[in-house]
């Protein structure tokens, strides 16, 4: 069905511009009222959620006319879903789904972005979204971790591409492993057998490549008899929990982000965060852990003819309500010495770090611009550091912050609290 299935949704757009701003009750003043990086950076309405669906509706009606400008609009979007949350406060319509389908159509029609093609070529060759230097499981050498592909484990820790290969990020994997070891969890990694979750390929519009990766992971999980997956990467979390479910590949697999899992371990008394970590922080919600991390809702139905845009059976929209917001905050608050101050744009209306949708690859300047806006907001809280829960956010925010502000992943603080 592709984009066509969202024709009714796209026709519903009333061009109110709510998609450009955080939900209006939450606007705290002049500053930090914007929610969509793309319209904030490029200004033409076409770059907003509403603009995108209006273009989609027009092209379904009048035929697809590709131009450089159209592709600029399509690929300068982090697919962060903030537009949908702000729209869906008031409206019943899909926003991000048609935008995603539009991008998939572009890829299927061969209207791709060269930088994204390059990233996908790497994925096809090495099973990684980042250049694969060395072996994927090399970071774990000497840690005596179980190989989940060969040994029986209760939990598979899916490390992710960036954390596995980026020397600067490998410390996050080591911290996560140490935390799981401390809680005496029978876990393992897939090591060199691990492959990309496919989530970022999906955001970029390469659905076939995503499905290829998803099927590989589903097969590995099935073969190893894994029932629970823990990720440290928000992209991986969304892929395993939401996207695999959307495409019928998740089965009964339980998926936790490490922040949820630590929260659970603390609640169950299996992990104590006893050491003091004196630091004032603000928390950045990764899009794919927060608003886009809420469960997929399977639905099929038909519009009821008549005056309203309603369906039989009723359609329940994913409005960002049930994302993972509290667990990371509870974990931070339970670390002695950590002082958490919130930014203006948080939880379901959080500002994206800039790394999503392939923007890191296709337009690094835009990714950095987006992150810089977030760093400024973080600084406005008076916090010493930003804490987040995704290596892509850590990397993008760190690049923008330079030496002006520290950026940590939540596992780094937890690691310090358990030492």
């Amino acid at each position: 069905m592709g984009l066509e299935q969202y024709k009714g949704d796209m026709d519903m757009c009333c061009r109110c511009s709510a998609c450009k701003f955080i939900p209006l009750q939450k606007v705290a003043g002049f500053s930090y009222a914007n929610v969509c990086p793309s319209i904030s950076r490029f200004n033409f309405h076409s770059y907003s959620g509403g603009g995108r669906v209006n273009i989609g509706a027009a092209m379904l009606r009048d035929g697809f006319k590709y131009s450089d400008r159209l592709l600029d609009i399509v690929y300068n979007c982090q697919m962060c879903g903030a537009c949908g949350v702000s729209c869906n406060y008031a409206m019943d319509m899909e926003v991000l789904e048609p935008i995603q389908e539009f991008r998939i159509k572009c890829v299927e029609d061969g209207k791709t972005n060269p930088a994204l093609d390059k990233a996908i070529a790497t994925l096809r060759k090495s099973g990684s979204m980042v250049p694969a230097t060395g072996k994927r499981g090399e970071w774990a050498s000497g840690l005596k971790l179980k190989n989940a592909a060969k040994e029986k484990v209760d939990v598979l820790y899916h490390v992710g591409c960036l954390t596995s290969y980026d020397k600067g990020m490998q410390k996050l994997a080591k911290a996560a492993a140490k935390i799981l070891q401390k809680a005496d969890i029978n876990f393992g990694i897939a090591g060199d057998s691990e492959t990309c979750c496919g989530g970022r390929a999906y955001q970029m519009g390469y659905r076939k490549d995503f499905l290829n990766q998803a099927k590989k992971n589903a097969a590995l999980i099935k073969k190893a008899g894994i029932k629970t997956v823990v990720t440290t990467c928000a992209d991986g979390y969304q892929a395993f929990k939401v996207l695999y479910d959307k495409y019928g590949l998740k089965g009964k697999l339980e998926v936790f982000h490490i922040s949820e899992y630590i929260d659970k371990l603390v609640k169950d008394g299996r992990l104590k965060l006893g050491k003091k970590v004196d630091i004032s922080v603000t928390y950045h919600d990764p899009c794919r852990l927060g608003r886009l991390g809420e469960p997929w809702i399977h639905w099929a139905g038909k519009k009821i003819p008549g005056d309203r845009f309603v369906f039989d059976p009723p359609k329940i929209y994913r409005r960002g309500t049930y994302g993972v917001y509290e667990p990371p905050r509870r974990v931070l608050k339970s670390i002695p010495g950590v002082k958490l101050t919130e930014m203006t744009r948080i939880r379901e209306y959080s500002w994206c770090c800039g790394a999503g949708g392939g923007v890191t690859e296709s337009n690094p300047e835009f990714a950095k611009w987006t992150a810089a806006d977030r760093v400024e907001e973080a600084k406005s809280t008076g916090a010493e550091a930003i804490v987040t829960a995704c290596p892509w956010c850590v990397r993008t925010l760190s690049t923008a912050a330079g030496s002006s502000m520290k950026v940590y992943d939540i596992v780094e603080l937890v690691e310090r609290a358990i030492q």
């Binding site: 009750q25 131009s67 005056d307």
Partner: protein, 489 residues
């Protein structure tokens, strides 16, 4: 409709290549028109240069803020004012704010509340420009229409920069009428065309005393926002009455006693729309509330400056309601619902859930005039909706209309609309016919409606104002490059 390369580059020189685009691919995101180009000026000087170029090349232009919908002639240069988004000044002493066109009302309201002030957010919603003229939920205490615009900076259709009122003789924004040139009569208009040619680039917006908290304690995740507590000395209620006459008597007495922070003549369909998070829930709640009310009604917010002031206002309210046999809707007394409505009406102005969510479109007839007369007209217009509701062409809202007195007075706004699916041609045609018939009736019966008809049809009934307007328009826009009709939301 594209501009020639040479003309395009002249505009490009004004705003930079990043801020002008004539690729047809972006046009559907604006409106269904082939624009000559979309251009994004950053400041008054750029607007002036653009307007002068438009005159030089006899090119029509049209400035727009956040957007909603609009009618545009093909070949128009679309001025997207998005980059003009600064709050220039908030003057607490003289109680006004100076804003550029793309400051949205949500931003300004939040900034004003922090300073113990508020302004009248318009019915279009706080997603729209804070410069917008018109009416809204807070008309009782924060007036409406042109009275909230003080000094204005205006780029005329020929590209002159005119500063009205006090700004014309000093750098002060406190008055629209002087010392300095008062040109209020041509800067706004309550009847079609309803818009001034040229571009407003800055305006001072009047602020009012805000007796509530510095910010609302909003909790929960979207779309389930509510208040953690009802702010001190505030209350929201919905009252229904056994008849329209009783409702009107209560409204007029409440106005005379000057106790309401808001008095909005909603029916329960609009209450249901505001407090629910999806269409299905809205339908259900509307049906349930319809059984709870005894007839027409209104929504009221009381906001006391002190506990004693609050108690006084509450007592007066309850007495007036009682004397007119009014009944409070229990569902709204629930603090959760009460909190949602408080925030919706003061911080959002509610309009998207009320208007667009059900079917994607609405068609409205707004009437400004003596409330008892316009209510009488609206009852008839509501009756006329019934056959459309029965056929399933428009959303069942019980024939709803709404309205309120401005400045606690007898004069006020009354409005009625039909919500429908614009993809359904039968519904669209039926709604258009309803609008035309009811507008014609309003005009024929001398209700002074802001009608859909062209000025040439309305003018003869209103001292031939349209002939004067034509002369003014020709004088200030000799090249005919600026629109003489349409709203700039």
């Amino acid at each position: 409709m594209a501009l020639s390369k040479d003309i395009y580059s002249q505009f490009e020189d004004v705003v930079g290549e990043e801020n002008i685009c004539d690729d047809p691919v972006i046009m559907p995101s604006y409106h269904s028109t082939e624009f000559a180009a979309v251009i994004l000026p950053k400041n008054t000087r750029e607007v002036q240069s653009i307007v002068r170029l438009c005159n030089k090349h006899k090119l029509r232009f049209r400035p727009v803020c956040t957007g909603w919908s609009g009618m545009f002639q093909p070949g128009t240069l679309y001025l997207d004012l998005r980059r003009m988004n600064r709050i220039i000044e908030i003057n607490e002493k003289n109680m006004y704010a100076v804003v550029e066109p793309y400051v949205i009302s949500a931003q300004l309201q939040a900034e004003l509340m922090k300073r113990g002030m508020h302004f009248n957010v318009k019915g279009a919603g706080t997603n729209c420009s804070a410069m917008l003229r018109g009416h809204g939920h807070l008309d009782q205490v924060a007036s409406g229409d042109d009275r909230n615009h003080l000094a204005i900076e205006w780029v005329t259709p020929e590209g002159e920069i005119v500063r009205s009122g006090s700004l014309g003789s000093s750098n002060e924004w406190f008055s629209g009428d002087g010392p300095g040139p008062s040109i209020r009569s041509i800067l706004t208009s309550a009847v079609p065309p309803g818009v001034t040619p040229g571009v407003f680039t800055k305006a001072a917006v009047k602020a009012y005393h805000w007796p509530g908290p510095l910010k609302f304690p909003v909790v929960g995740e979207s779309p389930n926002y509510s208040l953690s507590e009802i702010p001190p000395n505030m209350m929201a209620r919905y009252y229904s009455f056994p008849s329209v006459e009783k409702m009107w008597q209560a409204e007029i007495r409440l106005g005379e006693n000057e106790i309401c922070f808001e008095l909005m003549g909603f029916n329960v369909a609009m209450v249901a729309a505001n407090i629910t998070t999806c269409n299905e829930q809205e339908e259900k709640v509307f049906k349930q509330m319809s059984k709870e009310v005894q007839g027409p009604g209104f929504f009221v917010i009381i906001a006391g400056n002190s506990a004693a002031d609050y108690q006084y206002k509450k007592k007066v309210l309850e007495q007036i309601v009682r004397e007119n046999d009014g009944k409070s809707l229990k569902s709204v007394e629930d603090p959760r619902t009460e909190g949602i409505l408080l925030c919706q009406c003061i911080r959002i102005s509610a309009s998207i859930r009320e208007t667009f969510r059900p079917g994607g479109a609405f068609s409205s007839i707004p009437v400004m005039g003596q409330r008892d007369l316009t209510i009488r007209w609206a009852v008839g217009a509501g009756k006329a909706k019934e056959p459309l509701i029965e056929k399933g062409l428009i959303v069942d809202d019980g024939g709803a209309f709404f309205g309120w007195g401005v400045e606690q007075g007898h004069l006020g706004k009354t409005e009625i609309f039909c919500k429908f699916d614009p993809q359904n041609p039968e519904a669209k045609a039926a709604v258009e016919a309803w609008n035309k018939e009811q507008s014609a009736r309003a005009f024929k019966e001398k209700y002074f409606a802001m009608l859909m008809a062209p000025p040439s049809e309305i003018g003869p009934g209103l001292s031939n104002y349209h002939l004067w307007w034509d002369k003014i328009h020709k004088a200030i826009d000799p090249n005919g490059v600026s629109p003489s009709a349409g709203a700039l939301v």
